[in-house]
Amino acid sequence: MPKKKEKIKGYRLDLLICAGTGCVSNRSFIVKEALEKEICRRGLQDEVRVIATGCQGFCERGPIVIAQPDAIFYQRVTEKDVPYLVEEHLIKGRPAKKLMYVPEKEALPIPKMSDIGFFKHQRLIVLRNRGRLDPENIEEYIAFDGYQALQKVLTSMSPEQVITEIKKSGLRGRGGAGFLTGLKWELCRSAAEHPKYIICNGDEGDPGAFMDRSVLEADPHSVIEGMLIGAYAIGAQKGFIYVRKEYPLAVKRIHIALKQAIDYGLLGNNILGTEFNFFIDVVQGAGAFVCGEETALMAAIEGRVGRPRTRPPYPVEKGLWGKPTNINNVETWANVPVIIMRGADWFSSIGTEKSKGTKIFSLVGKINNTGLVEVPMGISLREIIYDIGGGIPNNKEFKAVQTGGPSGGCIPKEHLDLPIDYESLSAVGSMMGSGGMIVMDEDTCMVDVARYFLNFTQQESCGKCVPCRLGTKQMVEILNRIVEGNGKEEDIDLLETIGKNVKLASLCGLGQTAPNPVLTTIRYFKNEYIAHIKEKRCPALVCKALISYVIDPELCTGCVACAKNCPTKAITGEPKKVYKIDQQKCIKCGICLTVCPPKFNAIKKVSPALV
């Protein structure tokens, strides 16, 4: 294997600019261009390199630039900051303080990436290469020991030994269900029929989860290498990567990575001069949440409508075109090369008794440090939300964290010290799922959240089985009437009864887990349901039908901002005097609240509604 470390050492400094979807949306490519121009203008082009990397994870603070070798972390870098950054860091050789990260409520900036709370508590295995290499350049992956695990497997291990090693590591599927990866491989290998297929499931449909996108964007070769090792162990010659259409950048980088791997003889016939042949195709999803379910996903790859079927037979017996097929999630595949290189014992020393290794969570919602975090299994929710996530913005109070996407549940404050693994999350009514972690504060209405998820699963239900198709529909209708103020007292029991039946009787994972958000919010936040039903009151002031907007006469100065922006002309008054909202005309769009200058803060929400 060619080693390219020399090339990286050839420059005095590297500026690593994040080019994940979050930072790109914040114009990181424009910043990159500006940096390159400025570096040339200062004649530093032979000393300093600018490299576009994959997602660094701290998306809230994008665009992010990391100056190596000292790992100085610069955040929210705009085009205008470029001359200052170049002058200070590159010419004068001192850190550019103004661009450093200052934690909420603190005064001093933190220069080094590893000292920042968001990064300090993380443990990177899957995201080992995040932000340190150019994902569009295979040589950089190789320079960081990429494809060495493949070489090790092909030259010194039998397929059975590979399976034993993965089994011993205790790696479980990161897509949500948590099945033992090595066992799945073994079942597929021992299936009698040929050919065999492997699939990488990158149809990350859970709203609020984006780790698979990030891995594919930041380190596509780690997934390809994992698949190669899996294919060798299972005896497959053909693999598929199924990616969502909503992830254009990931699709692009996978294509580039595959082409480079073929050029380097790492894909195709006689890989690394051995008898092993393997090919990968990319299939783009077309926007259907249910296609994340393995049998639906296989139907979509075959070019059919993505509806699930009953299992058994499981894909490892009868999968794509009726042949044995092994499906693993993106994150699972990316774990494989590291386990091979560092050994099962090392991997299984991380995590809890039954859940080994790390898990990536996307920490989003009402949280200061939004982003992607990889943490050892067994860490507590409190550590993730407060130590890494930096707590809740605007001094609001934490209410719940929703894990596992539409299949998961809402976990309240009293379980914040729960050590996270597959089992503990199930025990409190939620699940690991793909790793979405949506933080909610006092301004989030739990009934509305339950309705949001149910509405989502109801729309995404493929309609094949009755419990899911009709059950979710009935549940949405009940939730709709509760948030509209027409709930009945027996509705809570009815929701629970239908929910339990949908869980028991549905065909696939979508229906079997769809009621979880409703059941957990009833379990932990029943008082909010009761307030909606009995008092017609939304405690979080979210549900439109149950609130009114009013102007506080003590605070209103008559600045006219609200009246000018009201789409229905419901706000009247005279300039410099107190304004009033006509509740009959008000459509509760909330625009007045957003345009009222914060220094006056005169518009308030009240519940129950006035009219």
């Binding site: 790109v24 709203p207 990030s214 992830y247 259907a288 989003v364 919602g365 982003g371 769009c589």
Partner: protein
């Protein structure tokens, strides 16, 4: 139909499957025109019902022409808790259409999507592939004005 024949040829050579074929037709026409789908069905001897079922099952496909600008509002959970419903209803109100529809002058198509996976930017609005993060009702107004201004200048 030359372009379509090329796509059909790739299907016949098993380079692409039926879903990818529809993706490519949509990339070409910006939607799936009925006559093209009928032509595909006839040429490939695939029942029209099968093509129709795929075209309607997956949300990425549109059977009606889309506007010059496609405006997508992310309705993922992170966007939802940070106020996406308000942003969407403002867009619906300003454009005079519901999500999934196209304005009469064919300038704008408004769509919602389940999650774009860029939750740090929530709530997100994407117009013609360009991401706009941390949107508010006011920002949406400004965005629409920008596009309307460009239109006038054209």
């Amino acid at each position: 139909m030359q372009i379509i024949d090329k796509i059909i040829k790739r299907f016949k050579e098993k380079e692409i499957d039926l879903i990818q074929l529809l993706h490519e037709i949509q990339n070409e026409y910006n939607y799936l025109p009925q006559d093209v789908l009928e032509y595909v069905s006839r040429t490939l001897h695939i029942p029209f019902s099968k093509i129709y079922s795929i075209a309607t099952f997956f949300t990425a496909f549109s059977l009606t022409p889309r506007g010059k600008h496609v405006c997508t509002v992310c309705m993922g959970t992170a966007c939802h808790v940070r106020g996406a419903p308000g942003v969407l209803s403002r867009l619906e109100e300003r454009l005079g259409i519901k999500a999934g529809e196209t304005t009469k002058d064919k300038q704008f198509t408004l769509e919602s999507v389940n999650c774009l996976g860029a939750c740090a930017l929530a709530p997100i609005v994407v117009i013609d592939g360009e991401y706009h993060g941390q949107t508010t009702v006011n920002k949406v107004d400004k965005l629409l004005e920008k596009y309307a201004k460009e239109e006038r200048e054209d």
